[in-house]
Amino acid sequence: MGKVKIAVCYGSICGGCDVAFVDLGEKLMELVSIADIVYWAGVMDAKEEDLRRTEEIDIGIFFGGIRTEKHREAVKLLREKSKLLVAFGTCSCYGGVPGLGNSASLEDLLKTGYLKAASTENPERNIPGVDLKSLIESVPKLRRFLSPICEFVDVDIWVPGCPPPVESVEKLIEVIRNYSKGRSPRKGLFIAEDRCLCDFCKRQKPEELSIKSFRRVHEGVINKEECFLKQGIICLGPVTRGGCGLRCIEANMPCRGCFGPIPGVEDQGTRFLTAVASALGAGEEKEIGEEELKKLIDELPDPLGLFYMFSLASSIINKRYSDLGGEESE
């Protein structure tokens, strides 16, 4: 088999996934020696039409989640044309940070973006697609919520990470090289570890975890040798896949969960919520009592932002409800 034909399409992206490829440096040239890039808007001049005209490609890589109808069309087109589809980056796999937008209605998101935000200057108070009728035709229609791509298409290879580290991109290129020699990867391959981050973390971990109070990363000095949770700092290591190379941990920052849930865990945030609640005053609940425990839990004002930062769009409750009656706007 000759060169592998690949194409890269975008959903709702920040550009970080492109940079993850560029981070390879000279190794990126290896990719060019084994693959023909049919379409990749970020690196070459080709139009989507070129992809449409191509009969078939081998490996399609998708960055970002599905926020607009255009994204949905793009991922369907890529799936149609590709023998293997790669979900690249956390947004594509789980919804990622933009998925946090699912905790608000579309109207509230637009109002915040175009009217309320401190940096917004919009004297006519127009909201694209809503007030500027002439733009409705040309602006892709926003969907009410963001979804990971697996909601619409079958995924063959998952590459989580925000962005995926260089090692993951290298492994993906290895997969492409093997494919060019006729060896296909197994279906549902994760370019990540199957064990949780704590299994790879070198910090001292307690036999039994009991948290007496929480603090944020900027409050006080963080011991570099000791488990973050032991120090009362929220770290998603216990529910998150390893394979990231402990980038944050080694920089003395706790895990925020960008590699997604470990196998067997359906909902990363809720599983962590369950786990961290058990660790609160563990073993001494009777002495502490219900009222004091409640106060301790109040030290965590934002479980949504902390526990579901990267996985809200793929969790069990993944879209906003309107069930609060009069107190709707917080």
């Binding site: 359906e266 369950t274 609640a277 004002p301 409800y321």
Partner: protein, 138 residues
């Protein structure tokens, strides 16, 4: 499915611990206390065994989730399972509010094996409250 014009009958999924909540429900039956036929009871070994994923999944399929276990501080058969559940539910309710779901749709009660009357009262109250809130819709 609830339609306009019909009276809304809420559906409650109830996780009952086998030592207290479930035994309390049994007692309510034996003593022939009346309560609405709105609950679907699920017997669990301990309220500490219930994961919040299970609660959220139950909530998606119903209008409210009731969890009944042994009284704190000392009644839990497994020492502190009831406290585990208590802490989880308090934290979960914050998340529910952030997602626009009324946290009152998840109700945690301590009901002992002898409190059949309390069980009947809790189910009646909760059903009435959910009737007032209406069906859980997006």
């Amino acid at each position: 499915m609830f339609r306009m014009g019909e009276e809304f009958e809420p559906k409650i999924i109830a996780f009952l611990c086998r030592w207290c909540g479930y035994a309390g429900a049994d007692m309510a039956g034996t003593a022939r206390y009346k309560y609405p036929a709105s609950i679907l009871p699920i017997r669990v070994p301990c309220t500490g065994r219930i994961t919040m994923e299970q609660v959220l999944k139950a909530l998606k399929e119903s209008d409210g989730v009731l969890i009944a276990g042994c009284h704190t501080p000392g009644d839990c058969h497994y020492m502190r399972g009831n406290f585990q559940c208590f802490k989880r539910v308090v934290l979960l309710k914050k998340f529910l509010r952030q997602m626009g779901i009324n946290p009152d749709r998840v109700r945690l009660e301590w009901i002992s094996a002898t409190e059949g009357r309390k069980f009947a009262r809790v189910v009646s109250e909760f059903t009435a409250e959910l009737k007032r809130l209406g069906p859980l819709r997006r």
